[in-house]
């Protein structure tokens, strides 16, 4: 088996070898003239072009169908988006109303104390609502006394 060893080589020699390589790659005029001269070659080229045209048309149709679907779905998607905005808006309105704020304050206070059962929380909230229906916060207790 041939093996190589690291030795320097004359730069000029390398250049000559390079030239020789390129000269070897120079095609013969006979070869160039002979390329693609077969009477079937142009027919093959046309078939290749037609196949490619069909492939492109197919790809174009797929895109067209996708765009058409997207276009048809646009009104429905817009309606869904409007509904979502409406729901979001009403939710924001209810959260920012005073009654909810009071309820939130009570539940926050109860939760801050630590061990609170869900029954206690519901009872506390109901109490706040009763107070609100009476119009004042601590008035009923005073009346009882």
């Amino acid at each position: 088996m041939w093996r190589w060893n690291k030795k320097t080589v004359d730069d000029g020699k390398l250049q000559l070898i390079e030239k020789e390589i390129y000269r070897a790659l120079e095609p013969q005029s006979v070869e160039i003239e002979a390329a693609a001269t077969s009477p079937f070659f142009y027919r093959r080229l046309r078939a290749h072009i037609e196949a490619e045209a069909r492939r492109r048309a197919e790809a174009g149709r797929e895109w067209g169908a996708w765009l058409m679907t997207a276009r048809q779905a646009t009104p429905a998607l817009a309606l869904v988006a409007l509904l979502a905005v409406g729901v979001f808006w009403s939710a924001v309105e209810s959260v920012s109303s005073p009654q909810t704020l009071v309820s939130n304050d009570v539940s926050a206070n109860l939760l801050a104390t630590g061990d609170v059962s869900s029954d206690e929380l519901v009872a506390a909230l109901a109490g706040v609502e009763r107070q609100d229906s009476n119009g004042t916060g601590t008035e009923p207790e005073k009346e009882q006394r």
Partner: protein, 188 residues
């Protein structure tokens, strides 16, 4: 009819006009194909692919492009060859195989010959051997060396063909030459 008239007729759907363009410029594409590939089937694939690309790009051809249809077609063909070289590389298609011991020894002898009159000119580096050597280069290196040394294109021409800057062409050409020398050094 001029090339530009034939292009216009082809765009209108005149099949014979495109056939005429093919007949006129078939050899130009074949010559370029043989610069990169040495088997006839490979070259014919390049011809088919280049003319097919040209057909679909006829609408983009503007008569004034570098003053000629051949220049436009050359650009398409060079890119087709480049794509094919890269495809071969990706597939690791080692169709050329490694150098035989005889070929390696032959190169070694030629490169090490230090006698005063020693000259590699006239020695028979076959096309097969030359292809095997260049096959070891990266596709862009091979493309550049071929365009510079065989097609004798200037830096500006290559930059225009490949869509690179002149500085990039110079840098890549330098690297490509170094790569080829490294390949040859292995046989010293």
């Amino acid at each position: 009819m001029t090339d530009n008239e034939l292009v216009a007729a082809s765009i209108r759907g005149d099949e014979t006009a495109f056939a005429e363009l093919f007949e006129r410029h078939r050899q130009l594409v074949a010559r370029l194909g043989y610069r990169f590939f040495f088997r006839r089937e490979q070259v014919e694939d390049v011809i088919q692919e280049s003319f097919s690309k040209a057909y679909f790009a006829l609408g983009d051809y503007q008569g004034g492009y570098e003053a000629s249809f051949p220049a436009w077609l050359t650009r398409i063909t060079v890119h087709t060859c480049y794509d094919e070289l890269r495809r071969q590389r990706r597939r690791s298609e080692n169709e050329l195989g490694d150098l035989s011991d005889d070929e390696a020894a032959y190169l070694h002898e030629k490169l090490r010959d230090q006698s005063p009159g020693a000259n590699v000119e006239g020695t028979a580096i076959t096309r097969d051997l030359a292809n095997k050597l260049l096959h070891r280069l990266r596709p862009e290196d091979r493309l550049l060396l071929t365009l510079v040394n065989l097609e004798e294109k200037s830096v500006a021409e290559i930059a225009d063909l490949m869509g690179w800057t002149s500085a990039k062409v110079k840098m890549r050409a330098h690297r490509a030459r170094e790569s080829l020398r490294r390949v040859l050094h292995k046989f010293v």
